[in-house]
Symmetry: C2
Subunit: 435 residues, 2 copies
């Protein structure tokens, strides 16, 4: 092994100095010797790009390295760490860095979910690394797991809890019996949810991560727009309770799978709340934790679990990538590449068959179940369990769990049920996964 003194120096530009950027700078400064030993190079911060150099910052940020000139910073760097977020100027700066032969580490899920393939191709053309472990599930090393550990295997399906905010809210609704608004307010109080929580609770953050995982796992080009997304805003305490009564827990899942449907081969990606069995590995993921299950042909089922967000965990993921990219530069090599993109088209959710839980409010009188059963059968859907609970005013709550059904058949069945005189209203329709 080289002695530390004889190692080459790599110049690092850090774009952004929010929570993650600050933790990255802290580690690069405080653990410099250890990181040099592991990287085979000294990592020297040349500039930290910010919008306003005069704002008060954590004292670990050396003010003399602050700059507002991102292009100059990128032009002089061997390694560019992009933790500024947003589409532009991040996209242009990463393209510029790659074309100048710098390696890039980014935590920017929104950018990768909308422009990932273009950036991967630019990295490939330039022969440099583009790493992004921190963009999916924070410190949980699922990107490296899919991209490297399973590089000799075939991935069939990925199912994950990739948004900590919504998992915290659903977990509080489940374990503490809160309703959605109460759990959201608590999540905001604890800093798990933003003042405007829409990106989390409407599923968009999870959808971006699902698109990235699908692109990686299936060597496909999957974009955010290819991901049908339902958030958790409409989940009620009654949904959670009905799920519990059939031995299930409600989770917001990101699902990506290779499918063949009537000869059509493609990738189906989706984000929606779903019931999972209480003894399923994902059911045990509590609080703001993330977990991703990967089903591969040879490896079987793998699960990656950990903190999906936060400054320090995200910085840990960024730094793992910095060390790997630095090591490749120091030794002249490159990290994992994608295969040629497979011609897998995105399949809409009409190609997906799942089980469903349908909750209905019905009139509590003889013959109702038989009438409903007839309508269900007419649509080619088969019911696994039906549970009826008398409520008030001559009404009853009815909870059906179906066998596998297509979204179309299910949708038509639900509309037909809604038109029946015996049905007061359809309370909710939720998917059931994990069986």
């Amino acid at each position: 092994m080289n002695t530390i003194a004889s190692l080459p120096t790599l110049r690092v530009a850090v774009l952004g100095s929010g929570t993650v950027g600050t933790e990255v700078v802290r580690a690069l400064r405080e653990d410099a010797e250890e990181l040099a030993a592991r990287s085979g190079a000294h990592l020297q911060i040349d500039s930290i790009v910010v919008r306003d150099t005069t704002r008060p910052r954590d004292p670990v940020i050396p003010t003399d390295l602050l700059s507002t000139d991102a292009e100059a910073a990128v032009a002089g760097a061997d390694l560019v760490v992009e933790v500024m977020g947003g589409i532009e100027p991040a996209r242009g700066l990463i393209r510029m860095a790659l074309s100048r032969g710098a390696s890039v580490i980014t935590a920017n899920k929104a950018l990768l979910a909308t422009h990932g393939p273009e950036l991967f191709e630019a990295a490939d053309a330039a022969g440099v690394d583009l790493f992004f472990e921190a963009a999916v599930a924070g410190a949980v090393p699922v990107v490296r797991g899919v991209r490297e550990s399973l590089a000799g295997d075939t991935i069939n399906r990925i199912v994950g809890i990739v948004n900590g905010t919504t998992n915290y809210i659903l977990d509080q609704m489940t374990t503490a019996g809160m309703d959605f608004d109460e759990a959201l307010a608590q999540a905001q109080e604890l800093g798990y949810a933003e003042a405007d929580p829409s990106a989390d609770v409407d599923g968009d953050d999870a959808a971006a991560k699902a698109a990235i995982l699908a692109s990686l796992a299936f060597h496909s080009r999957t974009y955010l727009d290819d991901v049908p997304t339902t958030g958790i805003r409409n989940i009620t305490a009654e949904d959670i309770e009905a799920a519990a009564q059939s031995g299930h827990v409600l989770k917001l899942l990101a699902i990506a799978e290779q499918r063949r449907d009537n000869g059509l081969r493609g990738v189906a990606v989706r984000v929606h709340p779903a019931l999972v069995p209480a003894d399923h590995p994902l059911a045990g993921v509590h609080g703001a934790y993330n977990a991703v299950l990967v089903h591969a042909a040879a490896a079987g089922t793998l699960m990656f679990y950990g903190a999906g967000a936060g400054g320090a965990p995200t910085a840990s993921a960024v730094l793992g990538d910095v060390v790997a990219a630095a090591r490749h530069r120091a030794t002249g090599g490159r990290g994992p590449a994608e295969s040629d993109y497979a011609a897998l088209r995105p399949l809409g959710s009409e190609h997906v068959r799942t089980r469903y839980q349908v909750r209905l409010q019905v009139q509590d009188k003889p013959g109702v179940l038989a009438t409903l059963a007839g309508t269900v059968a007419d649509h080619g859907v088969s019911v696994e369990t039906a549970r009826q609970v008398a409520t008030d005013h001559g009404q009853a709550a009815l909870v059906l769990i179906t066998h596998l059904a297509s979204e179309r058949a299910l949708g038509e069945m639900v509309r037909a049920l809604g038109r029946l005189e015996e049905v007061v209203h359809v309370s909710s329709v939720l998917r059931v996964e994990g069986h």
Copy 2:
């Protein structure tokens, strides 16, 4: 991206053609094009080294590549895949391969746990990759997680279930109420345990993996001999039941941690059965599955979960390493290196403080608890809970759970209790982890 046709060719020698070797050869042949795209090189099997070329084999093994001349095979290879197992000749062949500049992928945990540091140094001196994901927990990518993803973080503690056979046995004892012999017989019938199960049930296999993980995580030199090991042979149905009554599950754990004890800094590694709380992530690991929890300073707690053994999962891990090593050769670089070894000495279990469950058979008469409490207090041990159940013949079963105590204090206390006239015998002493 290069077109497939223009890629260089790397020559691969596979040492061993058991279950794992056969699956590796199958993938190298059947997925050749995909692996070439991901590796940036064609992977051409030059030879498959076996002890007896005439034995009947899976038809995927090309008989014209079989050879008994391991040295010739290694001499001509760019990549050596060692899946033969055992110390010699594997050690000599890997050293030869490394010194000739070949990259090595091995699944050999016994070898790494006894001669790992010497081999890592040889790889470092030669500037080539020595990868061994398959040596710990099969397809579960914990080696890559620790070595690469957490390369910019500080690992404090690793706790894992790393032996599927013993987890299967303990899980059957817990969920189906079997006793040890019955569960072992079933594990043997299902192929989870060998005819001679000692390497698994006595904890040696787990100890080898613990030594490897400790070396990796703490950049220390930890050998199999440094790991105090207790297996599960003496675990009884009564132990499992007593654990359940206090809300715990019994698991065989491999634990590696950095500790400071009276100014002494070192690495404490151990393998023993332990009670973990029923809602702990490791408690939910059933059947022959493996799971490893890693506690890092910035990343927090990560868990890696999956199939810990079996031909296909182990081959998947080997192939991920083959692709990474091939990619480095094709692009001229190298994968992760170790830091300089830290001067962390192995600390014996006398430096470890844990909680304990002590089961005693005592005389069921007034004043017994007070006498025992006095003896316990005399040894500086404090009791968290005591539970007494009357049995037969004027005796009672007493289960104590202590607060943190050193092994020495606990051992002396147990011996003192055993000498008391009121104590019929000490039934078992087990550690409690995960609080």
